[in-house]
């Protein structure tokens, strides 16, 4: 039987949810400036040290979503090796959204961190986070 790709973990690579990929793309563009689709995908692979299971092709759906929401903008241009490619860059609303999302992630990871360090024997005051 054929199984949809995004639903399994193979080996030790992390499964990527749709929203996190969008976030990664935004961050990549914010940090690296204007990039084409291949560039973004390679960058994410490199930065994550290949721990992310990324079918490079899925990036295009992500780019369309982000562009429809107005968080990135696109432009046709010429790549390093003289190929015609579409270059994406983050917009001001995109930066704003990125900042909000980054803040949200930090809060989330902070909470999850504390959750995973939970000590059953430790003295916790009731009601305290």
């Amino acid at each position: 039987m054929v199984i949809a790709q995004e639903r399994i973990l193979t080996g030790s690579k992390l499964d990527l949810l749709q929203g996190t990929l969008d976030l990664m793309v935004l961050q990549t563009l914010a940090a690296m400036g204007s990039l084409h689709g291949y560039g973004i995908a390679r960058r994410i692979e490199q930065v994550s040290s290949n721990q992310v299971l990324l079918n490079q092709g899925t990036i295009y759906a992500s780019l369309v979503r982000l562009e429809q929401r107005g968080w990135i903008a696109s432009q046709w241009g010429v790549s390093d090796n003289n190929r015609k490619a579409r270059f994406y860059s983050i917009t001001r609303p995109g930066r704003k959204r990125l900042a909000e999302d980054a803040h949200h992630w930090q809060r989330l990871t902070g909470v999850m961190d504390r959750m995973f360090r939970m000590d059953p024997a430790a003295d916790e005051e009731p009601g305290k986070a």
């Binding site: 790709q5 079918n55 369309v64």
Partner: protein
């Protein structure tokens, strides 16, 4: 970006598909090239570089699809794709498509047509402003119907003055005969037309506005007012060529110069509401204080309640006012006779209330037809789906979810259903247009039939519902199948197809049961109709025909209000008609001829309640008097009504004793109060009040069905033409000659006697009977057609299932034949299985009919809802048709060549 902007982008992306796809292709190509370049830079061989790049990229098609999904309206994409696929598949199988669409068109079309009829007759309000305020004021339904639902002019006055619940009360003269207006243009023969006399406020109460000119005012109806007339739209167009300057022109109508003061709007149809089956050409004002004052109970009452007044209040008030109403203010003892006989009901109920039952039955019947059609289609689709099971298995294996497959099949059903709805709508439009022109059927509001927004909405609903009904079963069946098994080569006899067969057989049994119910209904209605045709009418309609005779009293003789003037007028009438009738009698081929002022089945009025002299009737008798017929000698013989005693003769005139004839029923009732020897009224005297010298009963007639063919017999009383003022004379001739031949000779005689005799039509008496029976006949034919349709569909269903099972069992049959089974044996087996199916269906259907038959018992005449003959006939015909349907596959089975069957798969 707001959701709206996003939506806009998505819609734009949907339409700019090609361009965006091309752009994506460029991007993807660039992406791959960049990846390949990078690998080559690292020293990988170009072919290997390409492979690695593709692996790293992942599925290209999937990337494309995901991108498209993210940017456009995926749902619509899927829908469009499904539709295209469905279209291709249906085109490739034209036989199936045409049959399916045809079945649906018939089922849906019938439903739309019936819905429009039900909507117009039952659901929509009457075509008057604030129609819910209008009420019909009449006694409770009685054995003499409309003829008893009338009031005298004095009674109307009293009611109008004494009631506070109404904005106004109006009425019309209920006893106009067709062709009562004679329009004389130039020197040609006068043209007959039908007119109705109404009280001057008639149009005000109904809320009708003229399209040209004005309508009546109080002055138009007074003594001595100039004659005026209002035209209906069809007559204005037909007779006067839609003359835009018609207002103010005067024409010779019935010998008087009458001015046209207005033209009614096209939407006003008097007959549609008040007199189904008649066409009214013009309306004239009724002078309440002229001669109509003495014509007895002639006005029907219609009132418009004040806003805020409830029906209950109006009913209560009417009961209080009724005792103050007098039949004639000059006869004190005629007051109070309307007590209990004045009850307002909503006008809508009066117009269409008695049709409610029939309409409900019709709607159920047509719903059953649609159900049968859906079951049939479900079966067809199941067979098709079974053949496509491999295709679905493949799709499932390629990643289509169950929902997706069901969706595809539902799309197919919706497309079929949509096509069926479109054709069905066209069919319904044709049927409705035809019905609209059937003025001869005595059903109200037919002329208001149309396909309107509500009908279109209904079409949409039943198209979707039927698609779901017949599409869901095959869809679910298919999606639930085991893909593994389906992909393998599944030979005949596998478990799946046997389950299929059971389902299909069950569906066919239900079809047969439904068809059975329809047949029983149609059969019962047919028997009722035949019983109605057999009713003893009291007269012989065959070979008798009637024509209106034009006669105007000589104005020099006065208006009949004084004793001398009345005598002079009546004598002049006798002097005119006696020789006329003798001449007609003398014509070759004429067996009998006579004059009457009202024909049977045409409505009538009553003149009080004559009772035996010397007898005191109990007070508070709320009974309407006998219907009055003013007739000449020879009339009863021309109608074929028997008399005990003697007929009138011409010596019963103004100089001799007043004589009458009464019918059996009336005689029997009177006899219970009088004490006549042998209970025989012949030779006894009846009086209207204590001072009346009385009338001598010279004959007792057979009971005649005067109000309706199916109703009970009412009372009739006959007065001689030379002694009483009758209405417009109708000449009735009994002859062995065909009407056309008769017409020429009789018309010649009539024209000789009166040069102004209009070229009127000779109407066979049978037409009156047919007209009275027309609603029942029409209804029966409709249900009969539905039953035939249901039978046809059920037969097709049986054929389909049996045929399929024979195909499935080809190998088995081949083996049997190889082992020695004869052709006739094989045939018998198939027929037996067919009849088994049909019998189960018939039994179920009969049981269902027995349970539900009581609901149509009010529509039957003299027929029990459990009439054994009908049920037996239905069972026999259904089984016969089933046997026929199964015979063809049986023949096919018996012709199977065992060698071929065993070799083939």
């Amino acid at each position: 970006m707001s959701g709206l902007k996003q939506l806009r982008r998505r819609v734009w992306a949907f339409f700019a598909k090609k361009a965006l796809d091309a752009e994506l292709e460029t991007e993807l190509e660039a992406h791959l090239q960049l990846a390949i370049d990078e690998y080559i830079e690292r020293g990988v061989a170009p072919a290997e570089a390409r492979r690695l790049a593709l692996v790293q990229f992942g599925g290209i098609q999937q990337a494309r699809e995901k991108q498209r999904e993210a940017r456009g309206l995926m749902q619509i994409d899927i829908l469009v794709r499904d539709l295209k696929y469905t279209g291709r598949k249906l085109m490739r199988d034209p036989g199936f498509t045409i049959v399916a669409v045809l079945i649906l068109a018939l089922g849906i079309g019938a439903n739309i047509a019936v819905f429009s009829v039900v909507n117009t007759l039952m659901l929509r309000p009457l075509p008057f402003p604030n129609a819910q305020e209008l009420v019909w004021i009449a006694p409770p339904p009685d054995k003499c119907g409309l003829s008893c639902a009338t009031y005298s002019t004095d009674a109307y006055d009293e009611f109008r003055v004494g009631s506070r619940s109404y904005q106004d009360v109006t009425g019309y003269f209920a006893f106009s005969t067709p062709g009562n207006l004679k329009l004389s243009v130039g020197n040609d023969a006068p043209i007959p037309a039908t007119g109705i006399d109404v009280i001057h406020n008639f149009f005000n109460v109904l809320g009708v506005q003229p399209q040209m000119g004005r309508l009546f005012r109080e002055e138009d109806a007074r003594n001595g007012a100039a004659p005026v007339i209002v035209l209906t739209d069809p007559w204005w167009r037909r007779q006067f060529n839609a003359d835009p300057n018609i207002i103010g022109k005067a024409f010779d109508v019935n010998g008087k110069q009458t001015t046209v003061i207005g033209v009614l709007p096209r939407t006003f149809d008097f007959g549609a509401v008040f007199a189904p089956g008649t066409k009214v050409d013009a309306i004239t004002p009724l002078n309440l204080y002229g001669p109509p004052r003495n014509w007895g109970n002639i006005i029907t009452l219609i009132g418009r309640m004040k806003p805020g007044v409830t029906l209950a209040q109006a009913v209560h008030e009417a009961a209080v006012v009724a005792p103050t109403m007098c039949w004639n203010n000059r006869y004190a003892n005629s007051c109070g006779q309307y007590k209990g006989a004045v009850i307002p009901v909503p006008l809508k109920n009066y117009v269409t209330g008695r049709l409610r039952q029939s309409l409900v039955v019709l709607w159920s019947a047509v719903g059953m037809i649609l159900l049968i059609a859906c079951v049939n289609l479900s079966n067809l689709l199941l067979a098709r789906a079974a053949a496509r099971s491999k295709e679905f298995a493949m799709r499932g294996a390629l990643g289509a979810g169950r929902g997706r497959i069901v969706r595809q099949l539902l799309t197919e059903s919706l497309v079929l259903s949509g096509a069926g709805a479109v054709f069905g709508l066209m069919l319904a439009a044709i049927v409705i247009a035809w019905l609209r022109t059937q003025g001869a059927i005595a059903l109200p509001l037919l002329s208001q039939l149309q396909i309107d927004g509500e009908a279109l909405g209904w079409t949409l609903i039943i198209a979707i519902v039927s698609a779901t009904l017949f599409g869901l079963a095959p869809g679910l069946r298919m999606a639930a199948g085991n893909l593994h098994e389906a992909l393998k080569d599944s030979g005949p006899g596998s478990g799946q197809s046997r389950k299929h067969e059971r389902l299909r057989s069950a569906l066919v049994v239900s079809e047969v049961a439904l068809a059975c119910m329809l047949l029983v209904g149609a059969g019962l209605l047919l028997r009722s109709f035949l019983h109605v045709l057999d009713v003893e009418l009291g007269f012989q309609p065959a070979r008798a025909a009637a024509v209106t005779v034009d006669f105007n009293d000589d104005p020099k003789l006065g208006d009949g209000s004084s004793h001398d003037s009345a005598k002079a007028i009546l004598d002049a009438r006798a002097a005119h008609f006696q020789p006329l009738l003798e001449r007609i009698d003398a014509l070759p081929g004429v067996q009998a001829a006579g004059i009457t002022d009202f024909l049977p089945l045409s409505g009538n009025r009553s003149w009080g309640l004559p009772y035996p002299k010397g007898v005191t009737l109990p007070k508070n008798l709320h009974i309407s008097g006998p219907l009055v017929y003013v007739i000449s000698p020879g009339y009863l013989r021309a109608m074929g009504t028997r008399i005990r005693g003697r007929d009138f003769n011409w010596s019963d005139n103004t100089s001799t004793r007043g004589v009458i004839m009464i019918n059996e029923s009336y005689a029997k009732w009177l006899a219970s109060y009088a004490h006549w020897p042998n209970n025989d009224p012949v030779g006894q005297v009846l009086v209207n009040d204590d001072k009346d010298p009385g009338m001598l009963v010279v004959g007792v007639t057979d009971d005649v069905h005067t109000e309706s063919v199916e109703g009970e017999n009412g009372w009739q009383i006959y007065y001689p033409w030379p002694q009483n003022f009758g209405g417009t004379p109708q000449l009735v001739v009994r002859s062995t000659l065909p009407p056309a031949q008769l017409a020429t000779s009789v018309m010649a005689v009539l024209r000789e006697a009166n040069t102004k005799q209009t070229a009127a039509e000779f109407k066979p008496i049978e037409n009156l009977v047919d007209h009275a029976n027309s609603p029942r006949r029409f209804f029966m034919m409709l249900v009969g057609m539905f039953a035939a349709l249901g039978l046809l569909l059920a037969a097709l269903g049986i054929y389909g299932v049996i045929s399929y099972s024979v195909t499935r069992q080809t190998q088995e049959i081949g083996i049997r034949m190889a082992l020695g089974a004869s052709a006739s044996h094989v045939r018998k087996r198939v027929l037996v299985s067919t009849l088994r199916l049909a019998t189960i269906g018939v039994v179920l259907g009969a049981a269902a009919s027995i349970l539900t038959a009581r609901f149509i018992s009010s529509l039957l005449y003299d027929t029990s809802p459990w009439d054994a003959v009908t049920y037996a006939g239905m069972a026999v015909s259904l089984l016969a048709i089933a046997a026929l349907a199964g015979y063809i596959p049986a023949l096919r089975a018996s012709r199977i060549d065992p060698l071929v069957a065993l070799r083939a798969e």
